[in-house]
Symmetry: C2
Subunit: 335 residues, 2 copies
């Protein structure tokens, strides 16, 4: 396969390269595209050196698969161009996610929708993926009626600059200096705040609106009741979420455990005696979504409510890994 990575020098772009290499994805030619600023930089992929180029007319000629993670505007313009050139575009931006006819793909959840693509397949919002990975196995076993999610989101979700900023601020406070905020609106080290996306007239930040809308689309439940509070926390990598569920009928704790234990891509971490549950340190760099703190919620009618805590690497399963898994699924269809 001839593969293009658009946004190759960003946080997710770099992860795409790592995941493709680690999973030995059958890459013949690799083309890396970036902004004017990063053009000419050299990246290493599977022992080869790849020079970053800027996007240009005809740059997708001969490309089979193009992974996009350079923001909404770039995807809007160039993903259709890639498709016209004969490639499949796997787009990590929000540009096409809610577009009718574009699958919002999570291979463990909606493989049929992915297979029915018309050229562009959208990778969902990272938090929506992690949330759905934890909720879907339960929903399949006993219909979920309502979700209340509160998130604890890592700074690398805001890009490579925000991640550098957390590390710079960490060094600043360690030295007794004031942390300086540039990439994020407030100092994030030793602090936390409402997700740094614009807040709409309904009071929800854009991240929350995405999580709510995309969860409905991923799970093919347009009427699902869901509300979200998205919070940025001083964690480099891996998003967490406290999840409160209401089931239409009932879901016992043992049944929930069984459903999650059987779910691909999910690992139960739920050791009450050791107080060991999902945390970003354990989820970072890993492929699985960790799910724990599985317990009945007695504030709801007996058997109808459940609490969970989930944690997943938002650059891997929340972005690049999920994108590559979509490509692997399509490859299996072709072969």
């Amino acid at each position: 396969m001839n593969v293009a990575i658009v946004g190759a020098t960003g946080a997710v772009g770099g992860e795409f390269l790592r995941v493709l290499e680690q999973r030995r994805f059958p890459v013949d030619e690799l083309r890396a595209f970036g902004s004017r600023r990063s053009a000419g930089r050299e990246l290493t992929f599977a022992g080869r050196t790849v020079r970053v180029a800027v996007l240009h007319d005809g740059c997708f000629r001969g490309v089979d698969l193009a992974f996009f993670s350079a923001g909404r505007a770039v995807s809007r313009e160039y993903a259709p161009a890639a498709v016209r050139a004969g490639a499949i575009a796997i787009d990590n931006s929000s540009a096409f996610r809610m577009e009718e006819g574009v699958p919002l793909g999570v291979p463990e959840i909606n493989p049929d929708a992915i297979r029915a693509h018309r050229g562009i397949i959208a990778v969902p919002n990272c938090t929506a993926i992690i949330l759905c990975m934890a909720v879907w196995p339960l929903h399949r076993a006993s219909r979920v009626q309502r979700i209340v999610a509160s998130t604890y989101q890592a700074v690398s979700g805001a890009g490579a600059r925000a991640l550098r900023e957390l590390h710079e601020q960490t060094r600043a406070v360690a030295a007794g200096a004031e942390p300086i905020a540039e990439a994020l609106p407030y100092p994030i080290v030793h602090n936390l705040f409402c997700h740094n996306s614009p807040v709409g007239p309904d009071g929800y930040n854009e991240e929350e609106s995405k999580v709510m809308a995309e969860t409905r689309k991923i799970m093919s439940e347009p009427a699902l009741a869901i509300t979200a509070t998205c919070v940025r926390v001083p964690v480099p990598r891996a998003h967490s979420a406290a999840i409160n569920l209401t089931f239409e009928k009932t879901m016992s704790e043992p049944d929930a455990r069984a459903a999650l234990a059987a779910a691909p891509g999910v690992r139960i971490v739920d050791d009450r005696a050791a107080n060991h549950f999902p945390m970003p340190r354990d989820a970072s760099g890993g492929d699985e979504v960790l799910v724990g703190r599985i317990r009945a919620d007695d504030s709801q009618p007996p058997g109808r409510g459940l609490n969970l805590f989930a944690c997943g690497d938002q650059l891997r399963k929340g972005a690049a890994l999920n994108g590559v898994q979509i490509a692997e699924l399509l490859l299996r269809c072709v072969q």
Copy 2:
């Protein structure tokens, strides 16, 4: 008033001294008590030097008010002794909180219960106080039926050692070293995890059980539906909570704002255009509970659901300030 502080060298004990001094509480004699390890240490209070002593028989003779924050076992043994010696015991531990006849006092919420004390008045769990301060004004305006709370709790809630540990770990990772966890079960810098209290057979950690039981008692609503997920985050000071509410009838967003704006001890921080909402950096060291992210929850029937985010200094309103406010309330009754 002759005042005793038991646990004077701890995180909350030190805050008791600061709050008494800042609020010019009428202190005649001040006695400071601590563990054997800290006996002999000298503390400063309003220009005087106070030497820390160990608790001993007769140590409360002549004391009018004794503030306890040295843990459950010390309160169990010595708070009744203080009361027998003629003092009022204001206890920050969990020893008497759920005992029938002992008020669980938050002056803005249940002043009558506080006035009806029989010697011991319990200061609620810090998270329960902050949660109740945000929810009570709304509950008074239109009965709350159910609360789903997810917390973001500062390390100083786990004591002075845990706070030192966060700072040591911050310096460690800034220097590229591994953070070492001793006071808390896992590294907390750049990480987060289930609250570090024992997890019961129902899967809830002790903090969550306290928050649920104490919220019901503070608000005099023994049947209130409430569920909580308590999480420790790498923040030095000030607890936060994402709060999802269900109202028995309805509560509009403007009515919620009006109720919160009129509530003593609460400050609304809710600037959507600037994405400025409650955060620990703003709440730390302050007396008010910051409440924001006030928005209708459309996952519930129209007008029945509301989301909030609250943030308060858990050493001040969540502990020492609330204790001193209880004393001030009683002082006003006497005068």
